[in-house]
Amino acid sequence: MEEAANQMSQTVKESKAAYDIVRERFGNAVSEFDANPTMPFFEVLDASRWVDIALYMRDNSLLQFNYLACLSGVDYPEEQKLGIVCNFECIGKYTHRIAVKVKCQRDGGSIPSVSCVWHTANWHEREAYDMYGMVFEGHPELRRILCPEDWTGFPLRKDYQVQETYHGIKVPY
């Protein structure tokens, strides 16, 4: 274990320290820390506490993750799940950054929206919904953003079948 800690780079150590603070507060609602050298992350196991965790990460004086750099939707077909990956960063006091994953059921699953915590999540979540179809509970206006509003299916799901025609226009070429 000590050896593994020594091999960690400075950025991963900072992320680990930030993770420990979250873990202390939320215990088993979050998973173990994954010391991925290119993107250290942890997973939120209890999705219903996601907004609490998000608020804590933003407002705790030792964390101050005030900048949500990216929020990407991901499909995990082998687990029958959809998920989001958020990359956080602190602009100002600290230099630490960390990624958080939240997953939900593939069919009819939902993830609490964090657009009230970071405004930037609003459009990112709309995009994730547009591409993957997971519902963000509490989102102020969850509708498609890049695809037309009457498009059928969610294009970035691995099992997506494109519709034959759209308003009389042949779609697949």
Partner: protein, 400 residues
Amino acid sequence: MQELGKAESNSTRIIRQDDKRVIIEKDLDTEYMVLSMGPQHPSTHGVLRLECITDGEVVVEAEPYLGYLHRCFEKYCENVDYPGIVPYTDRMDYLAGMNSELAYCITVEKLLDIEIPRRVEFIRVIVSELNRIASHLVAIGTYGIDLGAFTPFLFCFRDREHIMNLLEWISGARMLYNYIWIGGLAYDVPADFKKRVAEFVTYFRPKAVELCKLLTENEIFVKRTYDIGIMPADVAINYGWSGPMLRGSGVKWDLRRNDPYSVYPELDFDVPVPDGKFSVVGDCLSRHLVRALEMEESLKIIEQCLDKMPEVQGFDSRALIPKKIRPKAGEVYGRAENPRGELGYYIVSDGKSTKPLRCKARSSCFVNLSAMKDLSKGQLIPDLVAIIGSIDIVLGEVDR
């Protein structure tokens, strides 16, 4: 029914009905009108539609509608191998293709964990800084056009042409370069490259000053942008703003300094942030100033790179490119400072395939534009045009 005239105030009409005074109209609100700006409106810099709810000349709310230029970048990525994605990244932010390529390549290189020759690193920085100047020239020129100044636009495009010629000379294309490859470059630079870039730098320095005199110190321009569309720093961070937009709000945040990549740590340059003497921090003029000052910093970077770039006899820029790019299983979020802000890629590799499992592009203008609804509240319609111009959107990157 007898009208008693405008008794209480100018905008209140009072009538008498059944011996009672009844106010039938108060404050005479004008009717709200829905005004659709775009998708083909020149001031939206591409195909963006703004649905403005207006009360006379005042915008009550403006809702952006995007997707007119959506080309399924992320879907393509899952069906093309890693080097095949590079040309697509050009087509996202078509005004700064080199920067988009650089961001993508350094992200995949993080996943591959490979060394890049120093000469390649310097060439990459030179071309991306040249492209940054070209992109800022378009941003500044078109911003002038939005506000009614036509001449600076022509000056900007004249100078941009020199950069386009340089980049065409080394890559063969004017806008969609496909020049920076994973692990190297498509070609080494021609023999006279250093000399001609140095010539451009000496040519452009006084032109940048001239441009400032024409536009930045122009009284009409200042009056149109001063104290318009103010974004406080904490809200800007909360909205995920980056690049010149965030620096315009007074936050000294530049990925070239705060999350250094390539050879930027060795180079000496400043991160310009408005100090509030010439503009109100966070207004449209601040954002314009940051762009104007950044061109000078880019010139500094280019000069230093020309000095430091090692000369290698018979250099092969493709020598270290892996034959088959198949990264080990893992995921990475990599980003670079684009002229418009943070361009990030989130890539997941399964370790078996030569195609990424997921490749998400975090577009800087997409995120910057998301604050439009907040910024536009209560502004006049002409100011709305000034605000959109200051965000400097490229719809190719917003819609991907």
